[in-house]
Symmetry: C2
């Protein structure tokens, strides 16, 4: 049995991907840009093993066996094996490529939180398989076929996903535009908003948007290309004013297109909108953009901000979205930080009433590197027979 | 002293007006279509009087004296007087036009409910002044200068507001496309949603949208012109399927453009969105559009539906948005109707949990005629000296 265990990060788009021009190959209708988040706080972890003794491909996710029937999963496996065979055309190790695989995955964060778990999970699977079968070169296009935005989780730092022009999708790939060390002051606060499960999954949501929203087509064709250029420059120049403005505008435009979808798709809740108001009020108070919000296909807010603003924002979030009295878990997780008590002047500038329990908890993190191979064998999620360890859940 | 007392209706757009190309003349960036609502349930009422004894123009709204300084109000008064003089060029009654006016207005519905009170109010003022000074011909362009959508309240039934092409705005007018008797089965339910005051007024909101939303420009230029044609045909053919679909899509697109505004403008709340879900679930259950929602610059839903669906929808609203136990006032006002208890099958088709108190009350009304002159002198809001009657509030 050969095996490898890896972790892969989630990524949070600042220019959003919404809509496919090819459902099978997962080719987007517009380019997108994201930051990859540090894996100490949020990551997917996967062990893949191959053995001549395995009688079938098998997969476990968070302790539960999963069907391997998914077309996307099959495409990913097939493509990795094809590349491995091509590379091993001298014959060495060719037989290993034909062994069945056991895949065991878990997330270190609640899947239900609505974070982009499938992106991290698929990136981790593709990265792990590429290591197991010694595939080299860019594998972001393979990850893309597993789950569109997974391609961006193949790289650390700031990453663009190019649309590509080839019919086979071979040039629709992720590209690092700046590494995780480029803008070291950048911090990320994820405000996990209390909510029931989301109403429409992002795959279905974007399909309906592509079919019905006339605004989405205009966005993809006319607006995003300009924003990509501006955003690239803002990241390279560490220009937070522009970075924040485009990030907020693009998040709003994604959700505008969801609302223009028929029937409309809504992910943001009253609490999400209160967070939007909070951020604009803070920026207005300081006379410059100090914080940027962005929302994916769920009510959680992701805030980008500089390190020196973290204590202030934490204080404001605690003030306006205080945890319930009997809140069992830590309200703040991730990177440690001071929490500043907001000044009365700042509080007066914010047109909100406190909403107890509206934010469940805060994850404090930063921009981080791409997927990692774990050297320590004890990290494996599979036992020596290739079965999930009992402690994986 | 000469005086006249009139009422004027509110109107609810089914293709929305959002954005001015000329702030002073109030010229819109796109055409719009609305239905005028019956005045038995909702109207503005205005008494205007003129007398050589009045020492200044004065105005009272809902019992409170108002400043006459508003540029819009002055424009309206000036234009009505100009037309009156032009008409009286033979000299008869010319002097009356120069008398000061006393204006006393009230609404028969709560202004805070976020209904289009300014449209009804300005339409009523302009209509009343035109009667007082015997101005004839179309006055919708004068009402437009008072408050854009007021021009549509000058006519009953189904009304379009044309953009016009003249620089002076003289051809940006309202036009009745079908009278109030054309589609007699049409009913309207206004669900007044419990909410604090709205965050951004519609005048400011649309200014910011015009300045910052790239989607709004596309909507006005490319999307609305097609919808106007389809909507006109749907109304003429009494095609509720199309009427409902365009109405819902256009409401969603207006709010999408508000969200694409920077900073974003939001009027719909979680309750508004629950009503959207309710309507789509109902239509889905019946396999055709039975109800259409539309939202203006506030969280209240306006539902268009056929008379035979009213008892069912009332039953559903009472089920999913039941009033608080200690709800003092009537939950249903306006036209009387049976309330049907929804079948279990229908209830099962609706993915909502009941939200107690989320809807404050329901106004049941229908499409109605344009402004009316009240013949009964006891209806006057002014006493014989031209002062507000004490009972006006």
């Amino acid at each position: 049995m050969i095996e490898v265990t890896c972790t892969a990060p989630i990524n949070i788009a600042v220019i959003k991907y919404w809509g496919k021009r090819d459902e099978k190959l997962i080719l987007p209708i517009n380019e997108s840009t994201s930051a990859t988040l540090d894996q100490s706080q949020l990551c997917a972890k996967t062990t893949v093993a191959a053995s001549p003794d395995f009688t079938s491909d098998q997969m476990w996710l968070n302790g539960q066996e999963q069907s391997m029937d998914s077309a996307r999963l099959q495409n990913v496996l097939k493509e990795i094996r094809r590349r491995a065979r091509k590379r091993k055309s001298d014959g060495s190790g060719e037989d290993r490529v034909n062994w069945h695989v056991h895949i065991c995955s878990e997330n270190n964060f609640p899947t239900a939180a609505g974070l982009a778990s499938s992106a991290a999970g698929l990136a981790c699977l593709v990265f792990s398989l590429s290591k197991l079968f010694e595939v080299e070169g860019d594998i972001s296009d393979v990850a893309r076929q597993g789950s569109g935005s997974a391609c961006r989780s193949i790289y650390g730092g700031f990453v663009e996903w190019t649309m590509g022009t080839e019919v086979d999708g071979s040039d629709s790939r992720a590209l690092q535009i700046a590494s995780e060390t480029h803008w070291p002051q950048m911090r990320v606060l994820i405000l996990v908003v209390s909510a029931k499960k989301k109403h429409v999954g992002s795959t279905t949501g974007m399909q309906t948007s592509v079919k019905t929203s006339q605004l989405l087509a205009h966005r993809a064709e006319k607006i995003v290309p300009e924003r990509m250029v501006e955003m690239r420059r803002a990241i390279k120049d560490k220009d937070f004013q522009t970075f924040a403005e485009i990030t907020m505008k693009d998040s709003n435009q994604l959700h505008a297109c969801c609302l223009d979808t028929y029937p409309p798709v809504t992910y943001m809740t009253d609490t999400s909108r209160d967070i939007v108001r909070l951020v604009h009020a803070v920026n207005n108070h300081y006379g410059e953009n100090k914080v940027a919000y962005t929302f994916d296909a769920g009510p959680n807010a992701c805030l980008y901000l500089m390190e020196d603003m973290v204590p202030t924002m934490l204080g404001l979030v605690q003030n306006f979205f205080p945890p319930e009295q009997d809140h069992g878990e830590a309200f703040l997780t991730g990177l440690p930080s001071k929490v500043s008590t907001p000044s009365q002047e700042l509080l007066n500038a914010i047109p909100l009433e406190p909403s107890v329990g509206a934010v469940q908890y805060i994850i404090h993190t930063k921009v981080g590197p791409g997927p990692q191979v774990l050297i320590d064998q004890s990290e494996s999620l599979l036992d020596s027979t290739g079965q999930p360890k009992s402690s994986t859940q």
